[in-house]
């Protein structure tokens, strides 16, 4: 396992992040932008369900979900690059592992929210509110753990 993680760090992508001058800040900047797009729009989708801008039909807001997915792809790519840069220390960083767990939970809750409140409207308003509050809380926790990574590095 350790050999594998070291081989990621020694790959050209790993070295681009860890040893070039601008590789790391460029990947970090893309990661912050992708976060703003993915989490920002997910938060707006939750807020709409909770009553903000309730006069706008949910079907009219649905196209923005595609933008959120674009943000996710930016962060999957930039996050993978950042992981390659310090694979061996990140793999044992508890904040990084907690962030990944809450990221999975946040994505699952947001996907369910979009399906339930924006695409089908089959389930109750109660369920929609629960998913909206859950995804808001989960995204906030994901960001908190993401910030802690650098402090226990």
């Amino acid at each position: 396992m350790e050999d594998f993680l070291f081989s990621l760090e020694d790959s050209s992508l790993g070295l681009l992040i860890s040893s070039s001058i601008w590789g790391y800040p460029i990947a970090l900047s893309l990661h912050a932008l992708g976060m703003g797009v993915l989490v920002g729009i997910s938060v707006m989708l939750s807020l709409r369900v909770l009553g903000v801008a309730h006069a706008i039909p949910t079907s009219a807001i649905l196209p923005f979900w595609r933008i959120a997915i674009a943000g996710f792809i930016i962060n999957l790519l930039s996050g993978t690059a950042l992981f390659f840069g310090s694979a061996s220390s990140l793999a044992t960083n508890w904040a990084f592992l907690a962030k990944l767990a809450f990221l999975a939970l946040s994505l699952m809750l947001t996907f369910r929210l979009v399906k339930a409140a924006y695409k089908t409207q089959a389930t109750s308003a109660e369920t929609h509110r629960f998913l909206a509050l859950g995804s808001l809380a989960s995204w906030a926790i994901t960001i908190v753990f993401g910030r802690i990574i650098g402090y226990i590095f």
Binding site: W22, Y24, P25, L28, S29, A32, L33, M35, G36, V37, V39, G40, I41, S42, V43, M44, L47, V52, A53, A55, I56, P57, S59, A60, I61, P63, F64, I67, W139, A140, I143, V144, G146, R147, I148, Y151
Partner: protein, 162 residues
């Protein structure tokens, strides 16, 4: 400039920020959450005006601006606390200086949109084609400014030798 730095460094607030290890990372967490509120809400408002989601009544879409304002307030407060906590580091930093300049530009652009563009939108209008090109330019600039502000903020620690 040095006098301002000395004044800030001698403040009780400065002492508080640097003497508790939890303060700085907590401020960063709030700053990142505020970033999401600002960018997420502006993507919806600005892209709607540009014509991305045609079903949205433009007169209503700026209800999301409440999220922008809350996010901006959070980031103004946490941002000021970063500067008070480490003034000598920020004032001389080229990425920080450019970031503040672009925030001022973004502020004037938002003022222009609110005072000159928005009043021209007829109530209940969904028809984005009636908007003048100044509406699209102003909202496109808004997204350009805010993405640049995020990137410049992220670059602050990496341009200290420039």
């Amino acid at each position: 400039m040095n006098e301002i730095i000395e004044l800030l460094v001698s403040s009780q607030l400065h002492t508080f920020i640097i003497s508790h290890a939890w303060v700085w990372p907590s401020l960063e967490m709030v700053h990142f959450l505020g970033l999401c509120l600002v960018l997420g809400s502006l993507l919806i408002v600005d892209l709607s005006v540009i014509g991305f989601a045609r079903g949205i009544p433009i007169k209503l879409v700026d209800k999301f601006i409440v999220a922008t304002l809350i996010g901006f307030a959070l980031n103004l407060i946490t941002g000021v606390l970063f500067v008070v906590g480490d003034p000598g580091r920020y004032f001389i930093n080229i990425a920080f200086q450019l970031k503040i300049l672009l925030i001022v530009f973004a502020g004037f652009n938002a003022l222009y949109f609110t005072l000159r563009v928005r009043p021209e939108i007829p109530p209940g209008s969904n028809d984005f084609t009636t908007l003048g090109s100044n509406a699209r330019i102003s909202t496109a600039l808004s997204l350009l400014f805010w993405t640049s502000i995020i990137v410049l903020g992220r670059f602050i620690p990496y341009v200290e030798d420039l």
